[in-house]
Symmetry: D2
Subunit: 344 residues, 4 copies
């Protein structure tokens, strides 16, 4: 029994995705995203989101995020985000590279979430010195957040509203967007464009695909030409793009993406309940999606590791760890994990 | 019967590659290229090339080429290549982007091939004006070339020697490297590092993979840290890299890559023979790999298209066309093509 | 007697310019181009050119050129220019740096001048492959040219018209713009905005200033915000900008710039006449401004050097040399040069 | 009487500097920093600093800082500095532009000064995630600081030592270096290379020059080629560089720079004493160089302005203001300022 809760990035692809890839592997088709699968993306995502959506398929979330930000901020522009955001902590400078020198400005917030007033203050305190300052240019939210929490649609709307006061469009990093929507139970449109989000990095790789992500533009797609140029010159226009697009289509067909994410979320909830009942361990953040951050003693974590459980001791801490539940983790594995925890 | 000879980029993946992908789709493995498949790449390619090889898997040839050139040239450096090279004609400025403003300098050469003396003259006539000029920094060769021709190992060695006179290291764009090696019959090492090539973009996507390419460094791998940083910040470090690496391993296992390429080459040779026998059509370049450039009348090409054959009228010409033969084109299809041609 | 004809870059500033600098050196004034001198630039240049002009003072021509091109071309855009243009030959990659990876495309032309049809063909043969190609984005002309020749207003208009057919705006590198206008005898507006030029790098350093150049935008100044941001982030917004602006104002006041350039042109014409009378030396290009390119024997040039004359043997040639006449070269010096030449 | 204390950037050049410029304005000299003035810089600064110094003259501090950082950090590198540092607050993204996407990491510190332990913690908490993180690459100190305070040589040494523990070289932004050295009374070498500083942006524009700054490399000058390439491609290689170099030589000759700075410091000290005696105003930071930050009521500042005094209300505050004293402010003006303050 596999007791790996280190990262959903370590999971294999779902059977449905492999089947779709196999089905798409027939005959000659146009290259460079002019195939039938790629051509169907706009309509499929438009239907899913209930509005006109322009879709740019790519193979990594870093590419989707970085291309999006390069569309929204000029080289002398700054992008506001949470201090713990993936774009600022984990992408090796890709946003700055694609953006030709943009600056990411981290804003502190509890439980991995930005709040409107600190965001307003941060924007207001920057950019007031003309060309000497960076020009505040965009806001980037992560949904679900890096802390495993979720923005309610009203919270997204409030943040988009605060950004709009300064003329800033909003990007959402949806590396774990499926987990958020599965948890919220709302429509994907409700927590994105209806709340004011202009571009979404729609993630699929973590939740059942091999390597499939998409940059979505809601409504106005005037920036798609910019995005396509950046995709090409960053080497992300796959010649055989059908294989990415086929994954994406299968992923959103018949609600597969939400079933997979819902399963992962349920496992996380089960584990969270076990932690809450434990006399010494505790939850660092509310568990709302598929990630669980646990505060425990170093000894506790060591015993857990000794029992064969794999998870991530949080860098720089020895009393906090992250457990991520994936689309393919078995319920038995989760139960076993809970038993082991209870026994320590 | 599929009569598509437009591009090998339009072909599906080989059955063996799909099988390898499926086999790799089991259980949790380390993410970000720390999985077992990725870890085996260095030794597998070292064995294949007969020397120490450091391997950086990526998903597109443009990424491999651009990362390689960013390693070899500073931002103020120029890279010499054939005027028709893919890097200068077809990559949308990716080398310049990854290289932070490097310049590509095209050198004219017959049949898609560079020759040593014109190369020497071009290098010598540039870069002589200190900081006012670009610094000549690298040479990039394409093997097989964009004209479907092949450099003999001695020719590669001569060009590497000419470059070395100016201190320039050599990169090889091997988008169709398999076709070249299958045709040459030499070892892969003989036409690369033994001839003086320092880095190779080892292509696999066109010849049977979904999306699998690799940047290879021969011998000294001191620049691999640079390459890994660039891969990350260009968004090319896939979280589930096992799927790229598994393709690459299957591709070079038991000579699959050469069998696939040999088949494509044989089809091209068959078609070339048919063209040579045709009273009005002729070959634009020697046919040495899997591409055939045909000179014919506009009317001839139109009749061919009317017969259901798909191929590429060369941009800016109406009397030249390119036919590319892929790993999966059937011999029957080739015969049918030859019959149609003969009948016009 | 100073017999230096190597470059007008080696000349000192004119007395009037030094006086203006000295006069501006009084008391405190606003920094960062908000001083009275800088504030007067727009109106002074608007009057000079007979239309609304927005002026961005900088200290080098490379900065002016590179900022201009960064305004006109996106990072994936190409800029067409003569193969011998300063921007492509002598600026060390500055246009590519400021432009985040733009490409300069050289077009061949006699006597340092572009012609409309080869330009059309070059643009048409590029950029036809969507995102795979660079996007043709701008044309850059040099006036007077790097060969010392001049575009007539009608020629400028014809080239601007050809560029406009492809939607390309036109930049003019006017490092020696004064020499051109002094020779043409037309108004500065006639050979720029009236002929279709959108931006001009107005040079002054070579012709009597210390370090003073300006980027001029004619009519629509919507791109000035872009230019100001680029000036700041390239380190070209001097805190004490009054000293650049004061030079520029003095330079164009009362026709100083044209008097200085006219003097230089006259010296060049005198020397050209001497060359034409020489039995063995000849002019390489028509002499229309302040540069004279001479074709002569190696021995001839060596004797000239031995006589104490300083000039530039053209790189890569031993039978061609360039002589540049500056605003401050004495007529006696020119006569002495002519005598020496005649005596060889 | 001029009561302008807004910024030393608003001051004119010293008479000695204007005289030097005038003296250098004679005859033809080699262009592009190959003139005699430029050639003397290395030896003049080596003598001043008591070690081998390689000097790169430029015209702005932003250029000097940004070129220096581009030498010390790769594109994926981070540079640590104080949160209030000029490079991060006031240079419009120039360091990020010259550095092709480097990241500046601000570290909090009292009175505008960094301290070793917070610096260590900041470095240690970053860059631990391989290619996913920026690579900690350099430290940048400002001397005198943006708060008008000064690092003692031992403090510089301690910070350089902390940086060295992580392998980080140190850059010093010396826009007001003269004010620091005049106040410290130590040799310029003692607070720079002897304390571990590798590169210094030696400022002169604020303290009596027109536009003259220099990037100084101590000891090893292997990175000078990088710096020269960056200077050229950023448009900072003036054709008539003699005018910058002549300013620099005159500035350090016979201690002019320290006399000018000492005067400015003395005025600041006089004003600081007046503030300390005031019942309602107070000093925000220790006054150690030529800048005075005053905490006072809004009404107090308004009365001061009404009395004709010019100074800078600190952005975002209405109860703090900055007063900068320059090389040319008269002692009478300072006395008048003190009287006005005392009368409010």
């Amino acid at each position: 029994m596999d007791l790996n809760f280190r990262s959903d990035n370590e999971s294999p692809a779902a059977a449905e995705i492999l089947a779709a890839l196999s089905a798409a592997n027939q005959g000659y088709v146009w290259s460079y995203a002019e195939d039938d699968w790629s051509n169907r993306l706009d309509s499929a995502f438009s239907e899913l989101f209930g509005t006109d959506v322009a879709v740019l398929p790519v193979s990594t979330g870093t590419a989707a995020n970085s291309i999006a930000l390069s569309c929204l901020a000029p080289a002398w522009g700054s992008v506001y985000c949470h201090t713990g955001a993936h774009i600022v902590q984990d992408e090796g400078g890709a946003p700055e590279f694609f953006g030709h020198g943009i600056r990411l400005v981290g804003v502190v917030g509890e439980q991995g979430k930005l709040q409107a007033d600190p965001l307003r203050r941060s924007i207001a305190s920057n950019g007031g010195h003309g060309v000497h300052s960076y020009l505040p240019s965009a806001l980037s939210l992560t949904q679900s957040t890096e802390a495993g929490t979720i923005y309610q649609p009203a919270e997204v709307a409030e943040l988009c509203g605060a950004a709009a006061e300064f003329g800033l469009p909003v990007h959402m990093d949806g590396a774990r967007f499926a987990n958020a929507i599965a948890a919220l139970g709302c429509s994907p449109g409700e927590s994105t464009w209806q709340a004011g989000v202009r571009m979404l990095s729609f993630g699929a790789s973590k939740n059942g695909c091999f390597a499939a992500e998409a940059l979505l533009m809601f409504g106005d797609s005037a920036l798609m030409d910019h995005a396509e140029r950046m995709r090409k010159r960053s080497g992300h226009l796959l010649s055989k793009m059908r294989f990415v697009s086929a994954q994406l289509l299968a992923y959103i067909e018949d609600g597969l993406w939400l079933r997979l994410a819902g399963h992962a979320n349920a496992q996380a909830a089960r584990f969270a309940a076990a932690i809450e009942q434990h006399p010494k361990a505790s939850l660092e953040f509310p568990v709302e999606a598929n990630e669980v951050f646990v505060r425990w003693s170093k000894a506790g974590f060591e015993q857990l590791e000794a029992a064969g459980v794999q998870f991530l001791i949080w860098p720089g801490h020895d009393d906090m760890a992250r457990f991520v539940f994936s689309h393919c983790g078995s319920a038995e594995g989760t139960e076993r994990l809970c038993e082991i925890v209870a026994g320590i």
